[in-house]
């Protein structure tokens, strides 16, 4: 089963990487007023977990994201 986890810097958390990208986009002439940089994690779940979303939520809290500074969005069976 396929799943995707999107990890974003939480709202209100300073994202220096996003600010640097925004500055470069402006230099290229693009009118951009905000950029946030996160990451995308594509997974293949082996077997057929009964509750894949709960499983993915556990993966997020135990490793994939740090809840202090990051929010997650879980997509199951798409892509």
């Amino acid at each position: 089963m396929r799943a995707t986890v999107v990890v974003r810097p939480k709202q209100g958390i300073l994202d220096p990487q996003g600010e640097a990208v925004q500055g470069s986009l402006r230099k290229l002439g693009f009118d951009v007023s905000g950029v946030r940089v996160g990451r995308v994690i594509d997974l293949e779940l082996a077997g057929d977990p009964r509750d894949p979303r709960a499983e993915l939520e556990r993966m997020c809290s135990e490793l994939l994201a740090n809840p202090l500074i990051e929010s997650v969005e879980i997509q199951v069976g798409e892509r």
């Binding site: 958390i13 220096p16 990487q17 490793l63 740090n66 202090l68």
Partner: protein
């Protein structure tokens, strides 16, 4: 206290200050033992643990995140829960935060630049095992070298930590965008500390400063005491 207390220095793939830490601890009267991250137990008679600086697992995912799940970290957690003194330096601090043995998290420097220089830090609390030798030395000169050293916690946590004296070290200026210029924190029990500056690189005036020796000597003292109480 004639015997040298054993201080375990945990080595992860990508650690690069492990030997410096071991050398400094040896010079300060400890018996340093390098412990590979796959070990499930600390050496018998361990009096303290150091998690050294470096770039464990190439900082994949988040700095310290992968290393925090190493088998040796289970042993370190048990050691800390039993009151054993644990010091995390730079990447070691990041690992302790990711392992949730310390509050907060280390984020990329606000200026997006690797900082590498001697900085001055103020000792905010001399009443910890790690800082008690700093009573006559409220400001220390220590080197930093990191790209992800901006300590962050939510406002409520930060206020609570400050009130409890858990903010142990602060930079005297803004080095990396760290909340409240925090350079080092200690856990509620007072036996686990993390800091971004490198005390192991400041143990001899020839290296620019010997102030780091004060912190590490505090750790060696605590190691000797822990060995006695654990028997």
């Amino acid at each position: 206290m004639s015997a040298r207390p054993v201080v375990a220095v945990v080595v992860f793939p990508g650690s690069n200050d492990d030997h410096d830490a071991a050398w400094a601890l040896g010079a300060l009267g400890a018996e340093p033992v390098l412990v590979w991250h796959e070990e499930e137990e600390l050496p018998g008679g361990t009096g303290a643990v150091v998690l050294p600086g470096g770039f464990s697992y190439g900082d994949y995912l988040r700095s310290g995140a992968i290393a925090s799940l190493a088998p040796a970290m289970d042993a370190v957690r048990r050691f800390a829960e039993a009151g054993g003194p644990v010091l995390g330096i730079c990447n070691g601090f990041q690992i302790l935060c990711e392992a949730r043995l310390l509050p907060g998290v280390l984020r990329p420097n606000h200026q997006l630049e690797f900082v590498c220089s001697d900085v001055s830090v103020r000792v905010e609390n001399v009443d910890t095992a790690f800082t008690r030798r700093c009573a006559d030395r409220p400001e220390l000169v220590l080197p930093v070298k990191h790209g992800e050293g901006a300590w962050y916690a939510d406002e409520g946590t930060f206020v609570q930590l400050a009130a409890r004296g858990q903010i142990v070290l602060r930079y005297t200026g803004n080095v990396n965008g760290s909340l409240g210029n925090v350079a080092g924190v200690v856990n509620e029990g007072g036996n686990v500390m993390g800091l971004m500056p490198h005390p192991e690189h400041a143990v001899d005036p020839l290296l620019g400063s010997a102030d780091g020796g004060l912190l590490l000597a505090g750790l060696v003292d605590a190691a000797a005491e822990h060995v006695l109480t654990a028997v």
